[in-house]
């Protein structure tokens, strides 16, 4: 087994932070090149006119899933050493709602707001500022919120263990769902995006 590198002691905490910084920059660069730093493009998700966010995120899930499964299957990655964050049902549901409301209001999520700010966009800076302010308020109010924060702990949950099927079956199912969803997303975009429809109707070949 050659990975996970940090867990097997290939580098220490400093090395891990430097590695994370490098990965973050590369990830941010790809997000920016994919147009994910533009709030208008991200907002298209909610109007069903541009499902790029859905496709990017689902692609990331499928890539990671296939990567983890096959690297493990080939003996290069010791999967039990990969950290799985514990599940807390109620606080994570509440967090999802807060995240969703923030996403709809700002047109950016935490990662894409950093990408947006790094390209000099004012709305990106505003969302990053709001996010940091929220982090500050949460920390100051933590004694009041701790009960909710630690409610309904379920430990580290994974789908194969939860529903009792082999990992390979879950990999196949998720990939199949993703492929069907990508085709469906293309059709939804064509249906809801006026420019595309009018472009087709006019025979616009651009």
């Amino acid at each position: 087994m050659n990975a996970p590198l940090y867990e097997i002691g290939a580098f220490g905490e400093t090395g891990a932070l430097v590695f994370a910084l490098g990965l973050g920059i590369v990830f941010g660069w790809f997000l920016e090149r994919g147009g994910m730093g533009n709030a208008n493009k991200l907002a298209g998700q909610f109007y069903l006119t541009d499902l790029a966010v859905f496709k990017v995120m689902f692609s990331a899930i499928v890539t990671t899933l296939l990567g983890l499964y096959w690297l493990s299957r080939l003996g290069w990655l010791d999967l039990p050493l990969v950290f799985v964050p514990p599940t807390y049902l109620v606080p994570q549901l509440l967090g999802g709602v807060v995240f969703g409301v923030g996403f709809v209001m700002g047109g950016l999520c935490p990662g894409t707001s950093c990408v947006s700010a790094s390209t000099g966009r004012t709305d990106g800076f505003m969302v990053v500022g709001g996010m940091l302010f929220g982090v500050f308020v949460f920390n100051e109010m933590f004694p009041l919120l701790e009960g909710v924060y630690r409610a309904t702990p379920r430990g580290p949950l994974t789908i194969p263990e939860l529903i009792g099927v082999p990992f390979g079956v879950v990999v196949f199912a998720v990939v199949a769902i993703a492929l069907v969803a990508f085709v469906a997303a293309e059709k939804v975009e064509l249906h809801f995006r006026p420019a595309v429809r009018s472009g087709e109707a006019l025979g616009d070949g651009r």
Binding site: E7, L66, V175, L179
Partner: protein, 196 residues
């Protein structure tokens, strides 16, 4: 970018589809995050089945170890090299069950990782052995509102608890709301003369 009518997106989708279908027939692999962590119940069952097949390495400090440790546990330094040195000194077979136990101030995962790297496939860890052992073995408590399946599981757990000198019980309605701290359970267990 396209190649004979196939865009890059379609090529990538096809690759993902092939790898997904192959995953169906390629066989099973462990899931992320598991099965490293061991519950106190699983440890107790293994000890009762064959204590000679279990090695328990406690990476907490001497004070915590003196206060409580799992049966047959030995104390080792909380480093990968110390855990490996201890297991090598015992010339343990690679299929033996090895459990690294820790606490709030002593992470057992580095020792567990070192054991897995060294080929001990049945290496496990317990993040907080004191709390887990007290809650699951010494003082397992059944909620008065438990379902029939929970009661059946608890009957098995209470047998195991009694084997290790515990005192399983059914909580009153007030207790079910208030609960009891691990420290209180430890004090009560020691008053009963339970030898850890």
């Amino acid at each position: 970018m396209s190649r004979r009518g196939w865009s890059t997106n379609r090529v990538l989708a096809a690759v993902a589809g092939v790898l997904g279908v192959l995953a169906l027939v390629a066989g099973d692999t462990p899931t992320p995050g598991g099965p490293g962590e061991l519950s106190a119940l699983q440890l107790a069952e293994s000890l009762r089945a064959d204590a000679d097949d279990v090695i328990i390495l406690d990476v907490r400090d001497a004070l915590a170890f003196e206060e409580f440790h799992a049966p047959r546990a030995v104390i080792v330094e909380p480093t990968r090299s110390a855990v490996l040195a201890e297991i090598e000194a015992r010339s343990a077979a690679s299929d033996v069950l090895v459990v690294v136990t820790g606490g709030p101030a002593a992470d057992p995962r580095p020792g567990w990782i070192a054991l897995r790297r060294a080929g001990y496939a049945r290496a496990h860890y317990m993040p907080d052995v004191l709390t887990a052992w007290l809650d699951e073995i010494i003082s397992p408590v059944l909620s008065p509102d438990a379902s029939e399946s929970e009661r059946e599981a608890w009957r098995k757990q209470s047998e195991l608890s009694k084997y290790f000198g515990g005192f399983p019980r059914i909580a009153s309605r007030e207790e079910a709301v208030g609960g009891e701290t691990s420290a209180a359970k430890l004090r009560r267990a020691k008053r009963r003369g339970c030898a850890f």
